[in-house]
């Protein structure tokens, strides 16, 4: 092949490949992109319906309930403003504790978040950034209230 044609071929192949890959990728992204939704937004009804998403917050102390000898369990997750009921069945990650941060994948069923995955964090000092941010926001709300102005936003359900 002459170099010109060679280069045309190379560029053509690369472009075609990238185009196909990009097309399929965009399609796949639609289904596999999971949004992180703050608990308060979930309670207010602002979450993707009929789709999986992620939530995160602190496991409320004393909220973990489990039937003796069963894998099914339920607990509350809070962003310090609103609490959300979560149901899960299966083996929990090692760092799942009451009062500790947690991230869950799943979807809403009525008023309950049905989790299909609870995320393990490898280090207890480490909290997923979006959870930390979500918590910090509401704690800030409360401190500003102590100084002056309007009270902390109440938990508003839909």
């Amino acid at each position: 092949m002459k170099p010109r044609r060679q280069r045309m071929l190379a560029v053509g192949l690369a472009l075609a490949g990238v185009a196909i890959a990009a097309g399929l990728t965009l399609r796949a992204f639609q289904d596999n992109m999971m949004f992180f939704i703050e608990i308060s937004d979930v309670i207010a009804g602002e979450y993707p319906k009929e789709r999986n998403f992620r939530i995160g917050g602190l496991v409320v102390e004393g909220s973990v309930e489990r039937a003796e000898g069963s894998l099914d369990m339920a607990f509350l997750v809070t962003d310090t403003r609103c609490d959300l009921a979560v149901m899960y069945s299966g083996v929990l990650p090692d760092l799942f504790r009451e009062g500790q941060g947690v991230v869950a994948h799943g979807r809403m069923n009525d008023d309950v978040f049905v989790a299909d995955r609870i995320l393990a964090k490898h280090d207890e000092n480490y909290m997923a950034p979006e959870v930390a941010e979500s918590l910090a926001k509401h704690v800030q709300d409360e401190t500003t209230h102590l100084q002056e102005g309007p009270g902390p936003a109440e938990c508003v359900s839909q």
Binding site: Q6, A10, A14, V18, T25, N32, F35, L71, D94, A120
Partner: protein, 650 residues
């Protein structure tokens, strides 16, 4: 006192790195032999001081000197000595020091083996490596000094993360870094060639063995990390598409493309500017990987160093390195075109396809890894990209690649006549299709289109990789190490694909509540929990289950999964019980105690999972054989003088 000496040694190393980075480059420009000669000496001196500093840090760990903040945070008195040593690179500061140490080792090796290269070229390579080292030493000293003191010193340390107290993870980072950092050599060769403006085939010949060695370290390092994740994270997955895994995988993909493109540049003098670009990209992605891991910018289980100043420093460094490399490239690359041609059916075409597909794969992994970051910066919400996306996206370029691999291996340079080619490949193709359709049904009792495609691909690659070794064995004509290495590395790919396909199609996994005396049946296997008991370790205590596995009444083995609590950090850890077999793993992990005597248990059957790591090791072995080829050792000075100074015209 010792930590201060270590700190001081690092500062000396920085000064030497600066000498090594500046003087040889000026010397090469002015053709001043004395200045060029500084490179090797400075590199050796730098290595001495970095190794000395590293030794000081190891000493501080072994002596449990908790007045050093880094030691106090990552070690502890009752930690076994092996893990006190491996704790040196268990966190940010120490692993950075190890990065610098490995870079200086590579540099010393380059200095040693570059004696038969033209002086000005060797000087430029060492100069570029010196500049890189300067950047990393500055990073260490300014933002992440491992020798910083803590006052008052605590009486005991905060302990090493229990997950890292494991032999696999003790050697995973050094190997991974050896690979990452090794790409800096290919990078330095590319920059040196561009500065001199003399990019002939010799450049590719010199670069090839270095790139292959870096690549094989990276391959083993990644495989080891995957193996560790499998048995130590406790849940039986072997690849999670975690950003940190992707960070090591992107340089691997580009490095693989680089190895293949270097072959074309060396043998045919083609693809020169493309090869240069890949050399730059492989190292840039290694740096990007460091940035992703060290800045904690992505949501990741590995993001243990969350400090914006460090992220900012690496980002700046990354920007300077990539930008200057690309500017140089834009200036020099257009003058490097070659006029050689090749036919559509030729090895060049297949290597071109290899490169296109590998780069597409790397691009897709890159997009998936950085998409959450981009979306967040654009303030469009917070997303995560899950493993299913990566699996689909990655398979799109990889599947054709695997099929083309079998064809490309047996195609001649320049032009391949079609008829003998088809005759040779007919048999492997038939074998692959027949076996691919039969295996899933015969062994696992289920047929499926996707499984069959995967198995066909695997058998096809295995069969075609064996053609040349079998022919050579029959005829008694020995293969060159280069050809043998290629065949074996490709064989490794086949084994890997076989493992991945079987594991993803036929794994069985179930979560169950279990009390002593009860059993679970999955597949043909029956797991019975015989007993629960307490076990004491050196720095933990554990609840251990004794699980007996039987198949059709016949005893297969006994596994002892544990739930450990480490005494210092009070953290819990799952230690899986695995019964290993060449064609399947039986995997049991304890979840939580969910009743007085009841535990949640995850039980798994993982067919052919060992082939995943075996395949990776075989790939690395192929690389090792390929670099032993004689032609890399007999690059004589005379030959270089003659060829090296005449621009390529053929």
């Amino acid at each position: 006192m010792i930590p201060e000496i270590g700190h001081f040694a690092l500062i000396l190393a920085l000064s030497l790195a600066l000498c090594q980075g500046v003087l040889p480059l000026i010397g090469a420009h002015r053709n001043d032999a004395a200045m060029m000669a500084v490179g090797r000496t400075a590199a050796n001196g730098q290595f001495f001081f970095v190794a000395f500093a590293f030794g000081c840090l190891v000493w501080a760990f072994v002596q449990s000197d908790f007045s050093v903040a880094y030691v106090a945070n990552h070690s502890q008195l009752s930690l076994p000595t092996v893990y006190k040593v491996s704790a040196v690179w268990g966190a940010h500061e120490g692993s950075l020091l190890m990065w610098v140490l490995i870079l200086s080792m590579w540099t010393v090796a380059v200095g040693h083996f570059s004696r038969n290269l033209p002086d000005s070229f060797a000087a430029r390579v060492l100069g570029v490596l010196g500049l890189l080292s300067t950047g990393f030493l500055l990073f260490t000293l300014l933002t992440s000094n491992p020798f910083e003191r803590l006052s008052p010193a605590p009486t005991d340390g905060g302990d090493l993360n229990p997950l890292l107290q494991d032999p696999g993870l003790a050697i995973h980072p050094p190997l991974l870094y050896a690979g990452y950092v090794g790409f800096s050599v290919a990078f330095a060769f590319a920059i040196a060639a561009m500065i001199s403006g003399n990019l002939d085939r010799n450049w590719a010949k010199w670069t090839r063995p270095w790139t292959t060695v870096a690549w094989l370290f990276l391959t083993v390092g990644i495989a080891l990390g995957s193996w560790w994740a499998y048995y130590e994270l406790g849940w039986g997955g072997w690849w999670f598409w975690d950003p940190v895994e992707n960070a090591s995988f992107m340089p691997w993909l580009i490095g693989t493309a680089l190895i293949h493109s270097l072959a074309v540049t060396e043998r045919r003098g083609l693809f020169k500017s493309w090869t240069l670009l890949l050399a730059i990209a492989a190292f840039s992605l290694s740096l990007l990987g460091t940035f992703l891991v060290r800045s904690g910018i992505l949501v990741s289980v590995h993001a243990f160093a969350t400090d914006p100043t460090r992220g900012f420093f690496i980002l700046t460094f990354l920007g300077i390195v990539i930008l200057s490399a690309l500017v140089l490239y834009a200036w020099r690359a257009p003058s490097m075109d070659s006029t050689a041609g090749f036919r559509p059916l030729s090895r060049e075409t297949f290597l071109l396809l290899n490169n296109v597909l590998l780069v597409i794969a790397a691009t897709l992994v890159f997009l998936g890894t950085l998409a959450p970051l981009v979306v967040e910066v654009l303030d469009a919400g917070k997303i995560s990209v899950g493993a299913p996306w990566f699996e689909v996206a990655f398979a799109i370029p990889m599947l054709p690649l695997v099929f083309l691999m079998g064809l490309g291996m047996h195609t001649a340079w320049r032009s391949q006549p079609a008829e003998p080619w088809i005759r040779m490949l007919r048999l492997p193709a038939i074998v692959a299709v027949v076996v691919g359709i039969l295996i899933p049904g015969l062994f696992y009792g289920r047929f499926g289109l996707l499984v069959s495609i995967g198995v066909i691909a695997a058998i096809w690659v295995v069969a075609t990789s064996l053609i040349q070794p079998i022919r050579s064995w029959r005829s008694g004509v020995r293969l060159t190490p280069a050809v043998l290495g290629m065949s074996i590395a490709h064989l490794g790919v086949g084994l890997f694909v076989l493992g991945v396909t079987t594991v993803s199609a036929f794994s069985i996994e179930t979560d169950r509540a279990l009390r002593p005396g009860e059993s679970i049946e999955i597949g043909d296997y029956r797991y019975e929990m015989r007993e629960l008991r307490d076990v004491d370790g050196p720095n933990y205590f554990a609840r251990e289950a004794i699980v007996e596995i039987r198949r059709g009444g016949e005893f297969v083995g006994e596994v002892r999964p544990q739930k450990r609590q480490y005494l210092v950090q009070k953290s819990w850890m799952t230690e899986a019980g695995i019964n290993v077999g060449w064609n399947r793993d039986l995997f049991v992990a304890l979840g939580d105690q969910i009743g007085s005597d009841v535990w949640s248990v995850r039980v798994q059957y993982k067919p052919m999972i060992r082939f995943i790591w075996l395949g990776a090791l075989v790939m690395a072995l192929g690389g090792l054989i390929a670099v032993s080829d004689r032609r890399y050792r007999v690059a004589s000075r005379v030959e270089d003088r003659v060829k090296g100074t005449v621009p390529e015209t053929a």
